[in-house]
Amino acid sequence: MDSQNFGRDHPAGLIKDGLPGVSGWRVQWRVVDALVYRELRTRVSNVKGGFLGVLIQPLGLILIWMGFLAAINFHRGGSLNVFLFLSSGTILFTTFSQIVVRSINAMDANEALLFYRPVKPIDTVIARAICETGLYTCCLLVICVFTWIFLDNIYMSDIGLFFISILLMAVYGFSIGLIFMVLCHIAPAFQQAAFWVPRMLWFFSGVAFRYWIFPPWTRVFFVWNPLMHAIELNRKSMSDDYFTPDANLSYALLCALIAVTLSLWIYYNNEKALLTL
């Protein structure tokens, strides 16, 4: 017999979820799979052109943004094709910021789904992180193929690093998004500030410029930021000649581990508050 004790000295357990005989991991897999399906179908139903329309929408925004950055010469040279340099920065950072921003709203947008007991607030954030990562990775791959065909040769020097750096951005986005979702639920006044965090991080992530061309004393504003490391590692994966003095995979992985542990700890200790009406 399952038991849940709601006394103050005991953590809230979970009653059976209506899926007897199915393991917890399997239940979560099904829930996330269903939420991803729902998220994608919702997006497809909201734009013209089906899945292609869903892909074109962020791609269009990224191209406009890159056109602007190229026009004001934000790139300042380098061995990597300018198109790829800006795509890498813009798409990886957009993956992160979109996951964070959409996670803040994830629970409110999916609140009614929590009536289906297997669905937990964290699942809505996982599903959104998967959708955004998948969508923007497709965009980056489309741009890589386009560049390869029409503009320049691409020497994908480390395809493993290419996908690891994208995964790192997804993990950062998921972790920060999960923390923000909890904080915004507990203290709704935090919501306005939360939306500004990704905007501020943009300047310290080397999205559209090489941070190390600035005076040495400015470097300290960038090297702490794991987002910068992930973006630089992604660029490095596309060209072996790409010079990046500080990018460190070990540091980026350690930050991801700390971020995900911290976010899960905060979520675990506040899940009851999230589920309380």
């Binding site: 849940q4 709601f6 099904r30 399906y37 729902r38 289906y116 309380t276």
Partner: protein, 226 residues
């Protein structure tokens, strides 16, 4: 055999700095094979109790022991996404509650029960309230649970749909148990064996459903409306 055991359950809500105790240290047992009518005036805590037992709300304190699968509130419409079609909406739930090889079977069952025709493949937001009720009720009945939480569902839809729902509920009742909240006392009498009467945060347990309904009606008539 005991299937749900509740001890010391307390639930309060705070609104504008004022604390209201909805359920105050209540105890009860529900046994396998019996269905319970939950009675009480508006705001007595009937739906709150169903939500807590359904795991979608959390009490302040207390212990709940359960060894059964419990449904979501039957007929829930809030979980549907307006821009998705009926088929897509039920596919979402089926993906959670069904193994992969049975998803299609569930969807077909719901499509057949809801009788929406071409509307099954049209956005949910275009449905009339009757169509929404049919889809929501069909979805709830497509999955097998040990206990169904039924909150005011027998009054949904038109006459023909209510008759169809009644038959389906009678059929389900042979294999599952119900926890029912309904202002339609006739529906409660049809499906339930015992009653819990909620009043002032406390619970009164009646083995005689008729007696509970009579007392509930008497109290409702003697008290001013909330």
């Amino acid at each position: 055999m005991k299937m749900i055991k509740v001890r010391g359950l307390t639930k309060t809500y705070t609104y504008n700095g004022k604390k209201a105790t909805i359920l105050n240290n209540i105890d009860f047992d529900i046994f396998s094979g019996e269905s319970i009518a939950i009675l009480g005036a508006n705001g007595a805590g009937k739906s709150t109790l169903l939500r807590i037992l359904g795991g979608t709300d959390v009490p302040d304190s207390g212990v709940i022991e359960s060894d059964v699968s419990i449904s979501w509130p039957v007929g829930l419409v809030g979980g549907f996404q307006g821009s998705l079609t009926g088929r897509e909406n039920v596919t979402f739930v089926s993906r959670i509650y069904s193994p992969k090889h049975r998803i299609e079977e569930r969807i077909n069952y719901i499509e057949e029960f809801a009788e929406l025709g071409v509307y099954f493949d049209r956005p949910f937001k275009t449905y009339s309230s009757g169509m929404r009720s049919r889809l929501a009720f069909g979805l709830s009945m497509a999955f097998d649970f040990d206990v169904y939480l039924i909150d005011e569902v027998t009054s949904a839809g038109d006459q023909r749909f209510r008759e169809k729902s009644k038959q389906l509920l009678l059929d389900k009742r042979k294999r599952s148990d119900f926890l029912m909240v309904d202002h339609n006392l006739w529906g409660l009498k049809l499906h339930c064996d015992r009653a819990f009467l909620l009043d002032g945060g406390k619970i009164e347990i009646y083995d005689d459903l008729e007696e509970a309904v009579a007392l509930h009606t008497e109290r409702l008539l003697s008290k001013p409306m909330n």
